[in-house]
Amino acid sequence: MAKRVGIEVSAAIGEAAKLANVDVVAAYPITPQTHIVEHLSELVANGELDAAYIPVESEHSAMSACLGASAVGARAFTATAGQGLELMHEVLYVASSMRLPLVMAVANRSLSAPLSVWGDHSDAMAVRDTGWIQIFAENGQEVVDNVLCGFRIAEDQRVLLPVMIHLDGFHLTHMIEPIYMPEQSEVDQFIPPYQYPLPLDPDKPVTMGAFGPPIIYSETKKAQEVNLRAAKGVILECWDKFGGIFGRYYHPVGCYRCEEAKALLLTMGSFSETAMAAIDKMREEGKDVGLIRLRLWRPFPFEEIRQAVKNAEVLIVVDRAVSFGGPGGPVCSEVRSALYDEDKKPKVIGIVSGLGGRDITVAAFEVIVNRGIEISQTGSEQEFEILGVRE
C-alpha cells in the first residue's frame, strides 16, 4: 500500500527516478531544477540507488551522456530548466530522432535577458518541435506519477521516444506536498525492464545517428512524425493502466466545470489549480465559465480539444510564453489552428500572463476571463494581449 508522505516535489522526483530503478543519471544543476539532481546524487552516493551519476560540465553534455547511456540499453534520467534546456537544445533532436527513450523533468523557467531564475513556459515552448513526448503536470503527485508513466511510455516498443515532464519552476519544484509514493514492487510491475531493440553492442555492431543525405532524410522525418503521433494511443493506454493500479487517472485534456459553460479558460501546468479556484468563484456568482486543463502537449490532442470546447462561445487561452511578433502564445496558436476547420467552435482569445515567476492570482484569472469575454464581443487592436502588466 502506497504511503502518503510530505516531501518537496523535487525530492519526490528523485525518489520516483529511484523507484523506476534508473541506471544512469547525467545532469548539471540549474535553478530551479537543482534540488532534483542534488537528491539523486545523494541517493547514489548513499548507496540507496545503484546507478551511475555523471556530473557533467554542461547540459549539452548531460543530454549527450544520457543518450549514449540509453543507446547501450541503460535506463537514463536527467532534469534541467530554462537556459539549461536551451543549452541542450540541439541534442534533444538527436535523442528523439535516434528514438532513445530517456525521461527528463523540466523545471520550467523563463529565459534571459533579463536574467530570471523564476518560472514560466518560455523554455518549454522553445523545445516544442524537438520530437519529444511532452506532458505538463499540475502538482507534485502528477509529476511523480508521470515520471513513472514516462518510462513506461518511452520504453514501449511501439514508442521508443524520449519523454519530457514539465513542472513549474518554484511553484512546484520547491513546494512540500503530500504525495503518494508507490511501493517498489508496484513500480517494478508497472515498468517492465528496458530493452532497446538495436543497442550499441560490440558483438553486433550498428551505426546510430548516421549521415542522412537528401535521398533518405525526408523518409527518416516522415517515420519520426508518424511514430510520435501514434504514441498517443500508448500514452492513453499507459494512463489507463496506471489509473487501474494506482487509482489516479490522467487525460490529455481535463475539463473542469465545463458543463453549459459559454466561456472557457485554457491553462497548462500548476496555474490550472489557481484557475480552478477562480472558476469556482465565478460559478458561485452565476457566471457560465469553465476551465480546460491541457496536460498532453506533444503529441497534441486535437480530437480531445475539439470535443472539449465545441459547445463554448469563447475560449480564452492563457500562455506563459510570448511568440514575439507572432500570432499569440504558442498554446493559443495551436489551439486556434486545431479548431480552424471546425464548423462549431468558440472564438479563441489569446492572453499572455504569468511571465518570469509573476503569479496569476484568483483575482487575476477573473480579470483574464472578463477581458477575454469583452474582447470576444468588441475585438482587440492587438493579435493577443499581455495582462497583469503595468501599462
Binding site: R99, T207, G212, T220, K222, A223, V226
Partner: protein, 97 residues
Amino acid sequence: MVKSESELTWKDLEIGSIVVEPGSASQYQTGGWRSQRPIFDNSKCNKCGLCYIFCPDGCIGQDTEGYFKVDLFYCKGCGICASECRREAITMVEEKE
C-alpha cells in the same frame, strides 16, 4: 534482396534510422562532385607512396605492379596527391562531363 537507399520508403527504415549493415558507407559515392581528376604518369613514378599517404579520402591504392591508382568512385578531386608528388607524376585534369 536488400533495397538500395533510393528504394527505401519511410516504413522500411530501422528504428531511429539505425544502420545495421557494417561498412555500408562504402556504398556512398563521394566522387560525385569532383571537378578535376588525377592522372598518374607511371613513367615518372618511383612508387614512393606519398600520394597514398596524403590522400584524405584513402581512395588511392596500388595495382599489381605496385604503381598507384585512384578509385574515382570516392575521389573528390582535391589535388593533394598531385601537390605532394615529388616527381610531378600526377596531374589534375578537368572533368569534361
